[in-house]
Symmetry: C2
């Protein structure tokens, strides 16, 4: 087995265990046991649990930043829906990050700061997106409305999965529906979008609302 | 010292410690040590940590339900701002509850279910509020828009303080500004409110937006 493969398996196993059991409850010892490798072997690849968490955080941040960069190609509401869908998939795949943020930022202050930097990057990208949608005539909004919409967009994508656990009738272990989450996020835009875009929102509504 | 007083002091100390150190990190032993009482004395008042958490949760839920009940008296946007202000104060005072929800609901499933029931109650109240504001002519919205607005209202009040920790420039220990949080929540209503109500939103904007 190559070094790369073991390293990747450690990251995959850690991610799954952090998501299922919570970041606080999973030690490097437990990860090694789960993988059937020695602590020494794991230690050879990652000196500390923090090093594993940092690597996973970097991958997560990269996913979101790629989605931020792709905002430039969004020229209609259906593109936006797809983009939000992919974002919720990424946040769900790395769900421990936003879910366990109080523990993560207290335990690893460097990652707390990187999370804030990521939010700042996301906010700027969301602002450019909203301004772009106004410029393209997809929606009508003042500069201030576009800024507030960008803030609502980042807030909703960051926190929606945490809120879903508070809503009755949800199985705690059931994975979230990224399509529904994307539809819900789009409803923030509905007061501002043009009538063309409303046709697509109506289609999504028929798909997701009872 | 009366039984009531020690009992209340235990609850106050526990609340402060849960908020500061996180629910997971605080044991009944640590609470007793902090108060300078014996574990036996604490145990006399609360058999388990869960009993303390349940009592604090009941107080929190009662605060929110009282605010839900007071929605019936809201006939204008400034009443709504005050009501949201008070709600964010309550959520901030019991901040460990929504912040540490993943741990809380895993450790005490009965409280996970009570949190979901509380969200359901809040959603129904928010829906009645939005319908009331439409009926009073404070805003214009279809039934579906009012339902979505109610969902956005409950989502925002439940999760905003968690999001604030993700925003750069925030001191992690600094307490949130309930007035700013209330203003932000009101911006969800702004596409729907009448021009009279916009005067008050403009006043809040001048106070809270740079």
């Amino acid at each position: 087995m190559s070094i790369l493969t073991t390293r990747d398996r450690i990251l995959q196993t850690s991610l799954a265990m952090f998501n299922t059991h919570g970041l606080a409850a999973v030690s490097t010892q437990k990860i090694a046991t789960e993988m059937g490798i020695s602590s020494g072997n794991l230690h050879y690849h990652f000196k500390t649990k923090q090093a594993i968490v940092e690597r996973l955080f970097s991958r997560f941040a990269q996913r979101l930043e790629e989605l931020d960069a792709a905002y430039a190609d969004i020229g209609a509401i259906d593109d936006l829906w797809l983009s939000l869908h992919l974002r919720f998939e990424a946040i769900s795949e790395y769900q421990f990050i936003y879910r366990d943020m109080p523990y993560l930022s207290a335990e690893y202050p460097v990652l707390g700061r990187r999370s804030q930097d990521l939010t700042a990057t996301n906010l700027l990208a969301a602002q450019a997106l909203c301004e772009g949608l106004v410029a393209a005539g997809v929606m009508k909004a003042s500069d201030e409305q576009a800024r507030i919409l960008a803030l609502q967009l980042v807030f909703t994508t960051s926190c929606w999965l945490s809120f879903e656990r508070l809503v009755p009738g949800r199985e705690p272990q059931k994975s979230a529906d990224p399509g529904l989450a994307a539809f819900y996020t789009l409803t923030l835009f509905s007061p501002y979008v043009s009538s063309d875009a409303h046709t697509y929102l109506d289609y999504l509504r028929s798909k997701y609302l009872r």
